[in-house]
Symmetry: C2
Subunit: 404 residues, 2 copies
Amino acid sequence: MVRIVIVGGSDAGIAAGLRAREVDSQAEVTVVVADAFPNYSICGLPFYVSGETPDWRQLAHRTVDELQTAGLDLLLDHTATSIDPARHEVRIENRNGNARAIAYDRLVIATGAEPVRPSISGLGLPGVFVLHTMDDSLRVHNALANGTVHEAVVVGTSYIGLEMADALTHRGVRVTLIGRAETVLPTVDPQLGQLVEDELRRGGVDVIVGAEVEAVERDGSRLAVRAAGGVCAVADLVLVGAGVRPNSNLAASAGVETGINGALRVDRQMRTNIPDIYAAGDCVETWQRVLDRYTYLPLGTTAHKQGRVAGENTVGGQRIFEGSVGTQVVKVFDLAVARTGLRDKDAAIAGFDPLTIETEAWDHKAYYPGAHRLCLRVTGQHKDGTASGGADCRALAGRSGQAD
Amino acid sequence: MVRIVIVGGSDAGIAAGLRAREVDSQAEVTVVVADAFPNYSICGLPFYVSGETPDWRQLAHRTVDELQTAGLDLLLDHTATSIDPARHEVRIENRNGNARAIAYDRLVIATGAEPVRPSISGLGLPGVFVLHTMDDSLRVHNALANGTVHEAVVVGTSYIGLEMADALTHRGVRVTLIGRAETVLPTVDPQLGQLVEDELRRGGVDVIVGAEVEAVERDGSRLAVRAAGGVCAVADLVLVGAGVRPNSNLAASAGVETGINGALRVDRQMRTNIPDIYAAGDCVETWQRVLDRYTYLPLGTTAHKQGRVAGENTVGGQRIFEGSVGTQVVKVFDLAVARTGLRDKDAAIAGFDPLTIETEAWDHKAYYPGAHRLCLRVTGQHKDGTASGGADCRALAGRSGQAD
C-alpha cells in the first residue's frame, strides 16, 4: 500500500489526492492543509465580497466530508516545516506548535503561491489588505459588514483588482482603481484594455492608469494612497492585488531545484529533481505549449490539471502534462473578456513575426434575441510572401475577445 | 476568367460564391436565386414569428448590396429549369416565364431541401402551413397579425416544431404540440427529451406524444387535427414540421447520381459524378466523421462549410470537407439543449458497443451568480476488459446537454 503525502489543500493538492485515489483505491493519501479550508475557490472570493455569494462555505469546491469520503486523510491547520528526502519524511506542526514527522512513499508539493507585497509603505496599516487567502477575504468581508466603508482604493488592474472593483461597487462602495500599466488588464492587448477601462468608468469606478503607488498613509480616520506624480486618493479601505509568487521555500530548502520567479522545476510528469517528490500548481514552472518552453503562469485550471497528472503518477502512472496556452476569462460589470495564447507583443518577444487583426462580430446571429457585439483580436504568424509558408502553420492561438 | 454559376441562394450557395471570390477575385460568379431573399436564415424564422425579431429583413445574413459588393451577380426571382452538362449551360427562367441559357465553366448545385409533406389529409386547407421558406413565414406572420389566432396546433416535435411552439406561446397563442415519437426532440436520448417535454408543459404547451396525425379537417371556422387513437385538437392555425428532403431533381435530371434519401452524391471535395458540377448543402449526402460514412444530415452550419469547400474548389482549390459530427443546439423556453456525435441507440445501430453515462454538473462553479445545473449524457465505446483496449480509443463524441 503506497503512502502519498500531499502538502497543500487547494486546487493542485486536492486534485492530486483525488486522482491518486481514483487510480489506486488502496493508496493511503494524507493532505497537509495550513488552514481549515481545503479545496476553496480563490477565484470566488470577489463574489463573496460583493455579497452575490452570501455564504463563504459556498466557495468550497467540495466539503471536508466529501473529501474524506473520497478517501483523503486531511490534516487541517497543520503546516509542513521541512522535508527529509533521504528518510522520506515530512515534518509538520499544528497551530499549538506540536510537531511530528510523517512518512511518505511519494510526496506532492502543492504549496501554491503567495501575494507579492509590493514596495509600498504602509501596507501594515489597519484597513489595508493584500488579498489572497480565505482568511483575508473574511477580514475584508467583516470590514465591509460594519458599514463604515464608503470609499475604497484598489491597487492593481489585473484580474483580482478588476473583480474587486466590481464587487465593491456592487456593495455600494465608491471605488478608485489605480494601476501601474498604461491600460487596465495588461494581460490583453491595450486596445481591449481600453474597452475594459471604459466599462469600469461606466460602472462608476474612477480609473487611474500609469501610476506607481508609493505609500499608504493615515489621513485622520481614513487612508490616503499616494502615487508618484502627486496622484492621491483617500478612502476607508485599501485592497492591494499585485500578483503572486511561488511559495517554494519548503521544497527548495529540501533541495528541489527552482527556476523562473523561484518556481519549482518539474518535468512534464510533474516530477522534481528529487526522487519520489512531485510538485504541481502555483508553486511550479508551467509548460507553455505555444512558446514550447516553461513559464510561470499561476492559474487555477492549470493547477488542477497539473495536480491530476502528479496524483496519477504517484501511484504508478506515466501521465504527461500537456501544457497551458494561458486561457483566462474575467467579467467586469457587464463586459466579459477572454484571452488565450500569445498577445502580439508576447509573440514578438518570443521571436515570432506576429500579425494581429482586430474585428467585430456577433456572439449570436444578429437577429437572435439578446445577441451582443464582440470585439475580437486574433494574432497569427505573419506570412512571408517569399517563403514556402511552412512557418505560418504554427498556430499562435492568440485571441482576445470582449462581449458587451 | 473562370465563370462560376451557382444554383441556390441560401447558406451553401452564398458561401460557395463568396469563397470563390475570396480565392480568385477575377472569377465571374452568378447566383441563381428562386426568390428575392438570398442568404436568409431559415433558422431565424421562429424568432420572426414570435415577434422577438420584429423586422424580417433582420433575418438576412447579408444584404443584396453586400453580396453584390462582394462580387456576386445575383439573378433574383429566377429558377434553373435544366442543366446541359455537355454544353456547360444552365437553362433559367424568370417569374414571367422568360427563359434563357447561361454558360458555366464550373457549376455549384445548392438547391437545398424542401419540406416533407406527410401523408396527412387536409394540408391544403387555409390556415395550415408546412413551414420552410421565407414566404411561408411571412404568411404565418400575417395570419398571426390579424389577431384571429388564439389556438394553434404544431405537428412535429423536432427542432422547428419546438421552436414554433415556443414562438407562438410568446405571441400569446395557446399551443398543442403533437408528435409521432414517444418523446419530443427525438434527436436526443429519450431521457433528455423528457426534460424538454417537462419544460414545454411548464411553458403552457399541451404536449401529445406517440400520436400519428392523419387529418386536418374544417370544424366550423376552425381546424380540427385528428390522430390515430381518437386524439383530436381544435385550433385556428396548424403548423406542420415533418422534416425535409433533398431538392435534387434539377441535378438528378442532368445525370448527377443520387443516394441516401435521394440526396446528390458528392466526394469529399464536393464534386458530383459529372465533370465541373459541384454540389453542397441540404441537397447532398454529408460525410459523417464518427460513422465514417455518408448520411443525410441537413444543417445550416454544414451547408455553409460544404459551400465554402465547393466554392474554393471551383477556382482550382483542393479543399476537403472534413465531415460533420451532427452538432445541434436548440432553446425551448428557458431550456437549452445541445447534442453532438452519436446517441447510444445510433452507436449500437452503427456497430459500436456503446456505454452511456448520465450525470449532473454546473455550467459555472456553483457559487457563481447565475450558475445553472446541467444534465449531461455522454456516450462512449464500452471497454472490453479482455481486449487490448485499442478499440475504445475511437471517440464516439456522443454528448447531450441540458441547461436549466
